[in-house]
Structures are given as C-alpha cells and as structure tokens.
C-alpha cells in the first residue's frame, strides 16, 4: 500500500543544497495532524516514520534568498504499462516476470513479413484514461513509426502515435497534502497516446556486454504528457501519484513504479520570476518513487538557481540527467545536441483507429468514481482533508470505507478505525485491505456495538484484531467470549469496593493528597472486570468511593 500519507519525504542524506531547499518548501502546518477529537483509536499510522525536520544548516539562508527570485517550470511524461493479457500488436502473453525471451513471436521480434494487429483492449484503455483525464478524444487517430536503433528495439522502430494522439487537451485535479501547504491544483494534460514498450536491457557490471530480454518488447503503453504547469517537486510528486491513483481506479494498469509499470520522466527549467520565456530545459530520468520525483526536482531547481546566481547560466545545458537515489543527486547522462531525429512517418501496416461516439459514450458511462470525485464526496461528508486524502488514495481502501458506511456506520468513526488500527495492522503484516478477513459489514457492526455501549472501545480493539486475522462476526465473538460491557452500576460498585478494600495503603496515600493514584485504582477495577467495565461509570463510582468520608 503505497499511500501518499505513508510516503515519507526523507530529508536525510540530502546534500547541503537540498536540505536548505526542503526547509524552505516545508511550511508545514503540523496542527492538522491532531484531527479527530472523539476518536476511540489512535492515529500513529498516519504519522510519517521519518522526521520531517531537516537539520540546521547555516548556508541555507542565502540559498533561500536566491530561490525566491526564481520560478520552476515542470512538465512530466508518464508511461503507463497496461495490464492487458496480450501485447499491443500480437497475441504474445503480457506477463511481468516471465522467463526471459519466452513471450516472443515474429510480430514483436520484427521478423520480415509479420504484420501487427491492434489489441482492442489498448484502445479501450486509451479511451478510459483519456476520458478520466477530461481529454477530447480523436474519433480518428493513427499510428506512426518512431525510428531509432537500439538493442532493445527489434524492429528498429517503435509503433507510437505522433501528430494525432487518441486523446488531448485535458486536465487533472489534485489536492496537495496539508503538511506540504495544502491547496487544490489543476494541471493541464497535453495528450495521451498509445504506443508499445521496448525490451529490457540488463547491463553486466563486469563484462563488456549487455543482455536483452524481449518479453517486454511490444507491451502496450499509454504515454501521458502534462502541460508545464507544475512549479515544485511536491506538485510534481502529487501529479504523479494522482496518475497512479487514476490508472488503478480505472484498472488499466497496476501502476507499480518498482516494476516499471508507471514511469515518469520530468522536464524542468527555471526562470527569473516575471520572465515569460522558459529557461533551458533539463530532463530527469530514473525516478522510480514519488519521493524521488520530489527530491530530484528540488535538487535540480537549486542546482540551476545557483548557476544563475553565480552568473553561470550558460552552464545549464539541454541534457538528460539521471537521478541517483543513493547519492541523492542527479548526474549528466547525455547532452542533447539538437532534437533527436526520429524520422516519424505513418505506420503503413496499421489502419487508422476509428472510435464511434456510441463506443465512447458507453465507456464514459462505465467509468468508476474517480479519485477527485471521491475526495470531494468525502469532503462533503464532513471528513477532514487528512482523512479524505488517506481514504481516497487507495481504491481498495476507498471501496472498503464506502462499504462500511453503506452499512450505516458513522462516517468519522469508520474513517478513524480504518486509518489507525486497520492501517497499522496492514502495514505490520504487509497486507492489502483485500487480504484481511474482516468484512465491511462486521466493521460496521463493531462500530455500532461500541456506540450503543454493548462493548467498550478497548474490547472493540481486541475484537477488531481477531476479526482481521481470523474473521468471524462481532456478535458471535461477544457471545462466545462474554465480552458485553458491564454497565450495571451496582456490579461496578461491587468491584470498586473490593479493589478499594484490598488496597488500604494506596487509599491512605490517595486521601493524603496523592490523587494520581486514582489511575491505579481504575486500572485494578478494569483488570478485575476483564476490561468490560464501562469506563465512564467506573470513574464516576470510583471517585465517589475514594472521596467518601467513612
């Protein structure tokens, strides 16, 4: 579960430069973490595991000042590997992790005479994603050949869409997490086009050769090109994670960055504030985590700003840089000399892609509720932004939450249980919410049982963990284990009197002013009741007895 909230932006190990930058960008509003006042559960799960406070560093003020004068312009190209059963233009299975070079045929190997035939799912997924990104669809689009020579490209060209992509001119809405300043942003989507992936190259560390696995050659991709609308690493990372959410909500891709199913290339330039023209653009590759996107961009912004400031702007050259996660810096991969000449021309082996309005409409009506709509709906239910972002982040969690409140559970309570104890359990056990035995129905029952006083919150937690691990029903468990909360004052009073009489020493200390000992007595009574005593009643009766003059 790679949720935005679990995602931690780690300032450690960052260079001097980056550290300063992070301090500047992190105008955090920490007060928002203490949300929920009537919670029965805790919120550790939401706390970032790493400190967000960067170490003190004296060179930073100057950099802060320099950065104030510049604005970054960031655009992102996202490649989404589609979760189809077959490749884009042949029937070879599309399986990640197959034995190398087994999912191949004359078409994807580019053998003479083999002809491509487009997979209908690729078109469907293209339309789904295009609609989800609020794009205009081209009812007629076509494929083109993009030609270059590389060992991972058996045909010597990639089948892609050049001048008429399947979708263009859309936008995406994101909510910036509160700890990064909050706010709602809209980023333009230039285009979405269909294309095929290349094979995978493995470089040997020792030998002077590389190895090629062509299982991935011909696997379908959708490339999403954003407008250069982002201004910071955080905005770019949020854009990328919204892309991941959207493709997962739509079911067009697993969106897994580690496996390379979601790959982001970032284009970034900076310019003095007020200047209309863009600065020299640098591309950053090898970003396989959202935190890497954010940090690589912030690193690049400060690198370029310093060069500008030192009168060395001419050293910002058009190039591709590689992000090194270990060193937390980017290095030159290759300089670009003029635009690459791909000699595009229309793919003669494929007909144009024709969509009918009926087809588009039928897909539009089958779209699920998308992350943005879900967030707005949760917000309208009265949930805080922290809760909204957490719940809507993972489509399975959101569906679980929707099912729980569909069973009548109180919204805020349901959110709290899912975000704290359940999330912590999932994280510890490395499970997804779909893996647990707890059903939405039973969580709703549990919440109701606590609310109507049948069981205490403490017992509720115990039951929860049993349900998560073993399944079963709340009612069954309450009956089998005799867990019904004790709300009879007489019964509680009996236990209180017993505890007080068994601890004369503590009673004396209490009456001599050590009132903190009330907690000790409460604990003893709770223990005696096996956690079933109603805490409110217990405290009330206990105080009466402790303070009684007898």
């Amino acid at each position: 579960m790679s949720t935005t909230l679990f995602r931690t932006i780690q300032p450690n190990q960052f260079t001097l430069l980056g550290t300063a930058l992070f301090r500047r960008r992190r105008r955090s509003n920490f007060s928002v973490r203490c949300c929920g006042t009537q919670t029965t559960t805790t919120h550790e799960a939401k706390q970032p595991s790493q400190s967000r406070i960067a170490p003190k560093n004296h060179g930073s003020n100057k950099l802060d000042e320099i950065l104030r004068d510049y604005e970054a312009v960031i655009g992102i190209e996202t490649h989404v590997q589609l979760s189809t059963f077959t490749k884009a233009f042949c029937s070879c299975p599309n399986n990640y992790g197959s034995h190398p070079n087994t999912s191949i045929c004359p078409v994807c190997m580019g053998l003479p005479g083999a002809l491509p035939v487009l997979n209908s799912k690729v078109v469907e997924f293209g339309v789904r994603l295009g609609l989800a990104l609020n794009c205009d669809l081209s009812l007629k689009s076509k494929f083109d050949r993009k030609q270059y020579f590389y060992p991972d490209l058996p045909k010597g060209y990639q089948i892609s869409q050049f001048d008429i992509p399947i979708a263009s001119g859309g936008y995406v809405d994101v909510d910036i997490p509160l700890e990064f300043g909050g706010g709602h942003r809209r980023f333009g989507i230039t285009r979405v086009h269909m294309e095929e992936d290349a094979g995978k190259l493995l470089h040997s560390d020792t030998g002077d050769y590389s190895q090629v696995d062509l299982n991935r050659a011909g696997v379908p991709l959708l490339e999403i090109v954003s407008e250069p609308d982002m201004r910071s690493g955080i905005e770019a990372a949020e854009y990328a994670s919204e892309m991941q959410r959207i493709v997962r909500y739509l079911g067009v891709s697993n969106g897994n960055m580690q496996e390379g199913s979601l790959r982001c290339d970032v284009n970034i330039s900076i310019r003095p504030i007020g200047q209309a023209e863009f600065g020299t653009k640098v591309e950053i590759k090898n970003l396989n985590a959202f935190s890497a996107i954010s940090r690589a961009i912030d690193f690049e912004i400060s690198r370029q700003a310093l060069l500008y400031n030192q009168g060395q702007a001419d050293q910002i050259v058009s190039e591709t840089r590689l992000w090194e996660e270990g060193a937390q810096k980017s290095v030159t991969m290759r300089k670009k000399e003029g635009l690459a000449d791909y000699r595009y021309f229309p793919e003669p082996d494929l007909p144009e892609v024709i969509l009918t309005q009926d087809y588009v409409d039928s897909i539009r009506s089958s779209l699920p509720e998308l992350p943005e709509a879900k967030r707005r709906r949760y917000e309208a239910m009265g949930l805080g932004m922290q809760d909204v972002l957490f719940l809507a982040n993972d489509v399975s969690v959101a569906e679980f939450f929707d099912a729980v409140i569909g069973k009548g559970a109180e919204v805020k309570l349901a959110a709290n249980w899912i975000m704290s104890d359940i999330a912590a359990y999932l994280k510890n056990e490395d499970l997804s919410i779909n893996d647990v035995k707890l059903t939405p129905q039973e969580l709703a029952e549990l919440i109701a049982a606590i609310k109507d006083g049948t069981i205490s919150g403490k017992i509720g937690k115990q039951i929860l963990f049993e349900l998560l691990a073993k399944g079963g029903t709340v009612q069954g468990m309450i009956k089998a284990k005799d867990l019904v909360q004790i709300t009879d004052p007489a019964e509680i009073e009996k236990m209180v009197l017993k505890v007080v009489s068994e601890n004369p020493k503590q009673l004396e200390q209490y009456r001599n002013g050590r009132t903190k000992l009330e907690g000790y007595f409460a604990g003893q009574v709770m223990k005696m009741s096996k956690g079933k005593a109603n805490p409110g009643l217990l405290n009330k009766i206990l105080l009466e007895k402790l303070n009684a003059k007898d």
Binding site: E77, I104, P106, T190, S210, F345, P346
Partner: protein
C-alpha cells in the same frame, strides 16, 4: 506494397518531402525551451490545417538533392563512394515523383489521415503462445543462455 517501400525511402530522406516537411520546420523554429507538450499541440493543429493545401505551395524544384551519406548513416548502412554516387540519382527520381504528386490540386478533398483500409480489424485480448519460439531464438546469432547478448550500451543515440 510499392507505396510502402517508397514511404520508407522518403521518410529517411533529409528533405522530408512527404508529410514531414512541416514538422521539421516547426521543430526548427520552436525554441528549445518550449516543452514537448506545447510543441505537439502546435504541430497537430498545423497538420490538420495544412493538409489540404499541400499542392499549392510546393513544387519539385524546391526539393533539395538527397544527402546520401547522411541517409546511409541514419539507416546504419555502410556505402562505398561509388555506391553513394550510384544511389543519388535513383533517390532523386523518387523524390521528384513526389514533387509531381504535390502539384495535384487537392484543395477540395477532405484530408485523409490514413489510406483507405478496412477498419474494425481489432484483435481480442486473448493470449496465444507462438509455437516456434525456439526457431526464433536459434536464429539469433548472439543468444546466450536465456538472453540476447549485445555490446554494452548505456546511452541512447
């Protein structure tokens, strides 16, 4: 089939006398700083607008002679000076033929993005394993173990 072969030849010509002419102009004129996204938009709009007027403003005399050496380089083909000498006029002939085509007045014709082909021939997303995979692998001269072995490459182009 003949058209396809021609397309291939022409597209690799430095003149881009077919549809590419406009694109190259756009590429050259757009500042490097422009994002690829903006770039694409401008292009796609232009392509639509320009398509019908191909014939009116281009003629064969405006086409540059082919730079055969460069062509050979982009196609990763080694040619002797004699072969370069021999190829030049042949490629020139093809380009001139397109020059003739471009003289045709198509102002009244709806632009076609692709040649007429039977549409609706999409494939079901049902996997099928190609039987003779061994045959393919055996024909790869540098197949070692489970991988193709190639000279070490780290950077594109």
């Amino acid at each position: 089939m003949a058209t396809r072969a021609l397309l291939a030849v022409i597209s690799s010509s430095p003149n881009r006398c077919f549809i590419s002419t406009r694109r190259i102009k756009n590429q050259a004129s757009s500042a490097f700083s422009t994002s690829p996204s903006l770039h694409f938009q401008i292009q796609s709009r232009k392509t639509h607008r320009i398509a019908p007027s191909f014939s009116s403003d281009t003629n064969s005399s405006a086409l540059q002679p082919p730079d055969v050496s460069r062509l050979a380089e982009t196609a990763r083909i080694s040619l002797t000076p004699a072969e370069i000498e021999e190829c030049g006029p042949k490629i020139r002939q093809v380009i001139d033929w397109f020059g003739q085509l471009q003289k045709v007045d198509v102002n009244s014709v709806e632009p076609a993005i692709r040649a007429e082909m039977e549409g609706g021939n999409l494939r079901e997303d049902a996997p099928e394993t190609f039987e003779n995979r061994d045959g393919i692998r055996d024909s790869i001269p540098s197949f070692e173990g489970t991988y193709l072995k190639v000279p070490k490459v780290l950077n594109k182009e």
